[in-house]
């Protein structure tokens, strides 16, 4: 799989990992904090007190892997211009995941049948990540 999404949580990566473990059964395959890195970053590259933040992590979600980190903490937080499409195996699984992801977030489009899907819906989670949940036809 040459391409994987990499999400930046601007200081909330630990919280996000715990949330996805609960909501999606995500498993942490790898996690490295900035102060564990063998190579210190250049001075000024990171926000102050960023040592305990996550430099890189890899989550297994179902059959896929997603990368996640806190970023450098020096730029604006937030997500824009993309989403994560999540293909569920059944309507029941889609409903469970949708409910979990929308909790503390926003149900952008409720799950329902469309011309391309048995069920499709969109939810923005509490961190601002847009999830598109689908059981394809």
């Amino acid at each position: 799989m040459p391409i994987k999404p990499y999400l930046f949580f601007s200081g909330r990566a630990d919280e996000a990992i715990a949330f996805y473990q609960n909501a999606l059964g995500a498993e942490v395959n790898f996690l490295l904090r900035f102060d564990e890195s063998p190579e210190p970053p250049p001075p000024g590259a990171l926000a102050p007190d960023w040592g305990k933040k996550i430099m890189h992590s890899c989550l297994r979600i179902g059959d896929s892997e997603v990368f996640l980190s806190d970023g450098c903490g020096t730029g604006p937080a937030g997500f824009n211009g993309f989403g994560v499409s999540l293909e569920a195996k059944s309507v029941a699984e889609a409903e469970r995941m949708f409910g979990a992801l929308a909790d503390g977030g926003e149900a952008r489009m409720p799950l329902g049948e469309t011309f391309f899907a048995v069920t499709f819906g969109m939810a923005v989670d509490r961190f601002g990540v847009l999830w598109m949940i689908i059981v394809p036809k």
Binding site: K4, L24, F79, N80, S85, G128
Partner: protein, 136 residues
Amino acid sequence: MSIQPYLIFDGRAEEAAAFYEKALGAQIQMLMRYKDSPLPQPEEMLPPGWSAKVMHMALKIGDTIVFGSDGDGEETGFKGFSLSYSAKTQEEAERVFAALAEGGETKMRLTRTFFSPAFGMLTDRFGVPWMVVLPQ
């Protein structure tokens, strides 16, 4: 349960598909425009002239699928994520990096790091942030 990235191109989705075909050998598996959708779009939901824009497309890159769309004209810009491209050889890493960076911006040239013999970061001409990595 499987995950695919979904990119919202603000009107340049078709141009992006052509670019990724060339830069990454992507195959356009499907591309549907708003005007070809079985669902009529209420006119006020989309900007004028948006009916020829891409409602949904699927690009196959290696064995990965990346979805894309022109969205509803309100997205303006990519923030908070990157796509990580894992190359199999140094040659592939260099070729993919150069192709994606053309017309875009190199953030970090391909360099040896503690975790990879070749790792680099760039933003492509559409503003999509990429990491190119040759795993250890």
